[in-house]
Amino acid sequence: MRKIGQNTVWIGATLVALILVGAIYFGSNYLRDDRGLPKVAEIGGPFSLVDHHGKSVTNRDYLGKPTLVFFGFTHCPDVCPTTLYEITNHLKELGPDADRLNVLFITVDPERDTPQQLALYLSSFDPRITGLSGSPENILAAEKAYHIYAKKVPLKDGGYTMDHTATIAVMNSKGQYVDAMHYQAPSATTRAKLRRLLNLGNS
């Protein structure tokens, strides 16, 4: 009889411990802010570039807010302007809430996309989008940090185009990669991701 009683106590204690551990685990999930989001891959990292106002910037300048990072170039007829128009629409819809977000458009074509060219191009989109250019070496370093494939492809007329990864990297306010937005993902998916990102960043 006494032995059974002891077992019962042990089982009870174990159950209480399990429940506590579970509560802490789930509780922390409910309470998490965006910094609590797990870092899912070693994407992102230090960069040193020039923004479209001509100011030297590093990745540290964009900490403190969630950041969308997208690579492209202005001689791009399809993916890049489409993505920028879509982001513009999302930012417009979010209104002042979108001020709590950084949006970076980093060129893969620094040869043609000078800060001045980026400034002109981005004047057609939401003013909260920042264009980044820099030396070819620094652009290459940023591409590597974000796992971006970019390659110059010559065209017959003597010009060239750029193959490049079209995915938007979503970074939390600590500069950790937390999600990706894929080209041609349904608008509702992107909207939901942005809202979640901002709500999490807010709590």
Binding site: T74, H75, C76, P77, D78, V79, P81, T82, L84, Y85, E86, T88, N89, Q117, L120, Y121, L122, S123, S124, F125, Y149, V153, L155, K156, D157, G159, T161, D163, H164, T165, A166, T167, H182, Y183, Q184
Partner: protein, 177 residues
């Protein structure tokens, strides 16, 4: 029983209303479609029919623009779109945009775009095919109509007009109803 009967009659009334609404929506849709057909731009040269050419408005400072249309070959011989002109651009090419995983790739279509007999090819942002205008001399503004020309290997040259749609448009405006 009486409750059941009442429920049934309510259901009947609702059914009639829905079908009336349905008929109204259908006829409205038919009318809209007719107006779409009436305003659809069509250009022909021999066996080649070009429908609704459009271009995306360009952001400031952009030097390239994508043009889209539907091309049909009603003849019995294959033909190829091999060139074109737009007075606002310095250079014309037929391109294919492809996604290789998450990587965007763009390539010139070698030897021009073939249109087989009876084939209808859609050049639109989702199909990947577009005509590419390079060396733009001025931004293309939404709502403008631009004169251009296409050149086919067999059918020869044809004058067409492009409608300039919004920068992020996925299709010509007439399709957005």
């Amino acid at each position: 029983m009486p409750t059941g009967v009442r429920a049934q009659s309510v259901e009947n009334t609702m059914y009639i209303n829905t079908s009336r609404l349905h008929r109204f929506v259908m006829s409205a849709a038919v009318l809209l479609n007719m107006s779409t057909v009436a305003v659809a731009q069509q250009f022909k040269v021999k066996s080649i029919v070009i429908e609704q050419p459009w271009i995306r408005a360009t952001p400031a400072g952009a030097e390239v623009a994508g043009g889209y249309m539907t091309i049909s070959n009603t003849g019995s011989e294959p033909d190829r779109l091999i060139g074109g002109v737009l007075s606002q651009a310095g250079h014309f090419a037929v391109h294919e945009m492809k996604m290789d995983g998450n990587v965007m790739q763009m390539r010139e279509v070698e030897g021009g775009l073939e249109i087989k007999p009876g084939q209808k090819i859609e050049l639109n942002p989702s199909s990947g095919y577009h005509v590419m205008f390079m060396g733009l001399r001025e931004p293309l503004k939404q709502g403008d109509t631009l004169k251009g020309q296409l050149r086919f290997e067999k059918a020869g040259s044809v004058d067409i007009e492009y409608r300039v749609e919004a920068g992020g448009a996925q299709g010509p405006q007439q399709h957005n109803h």
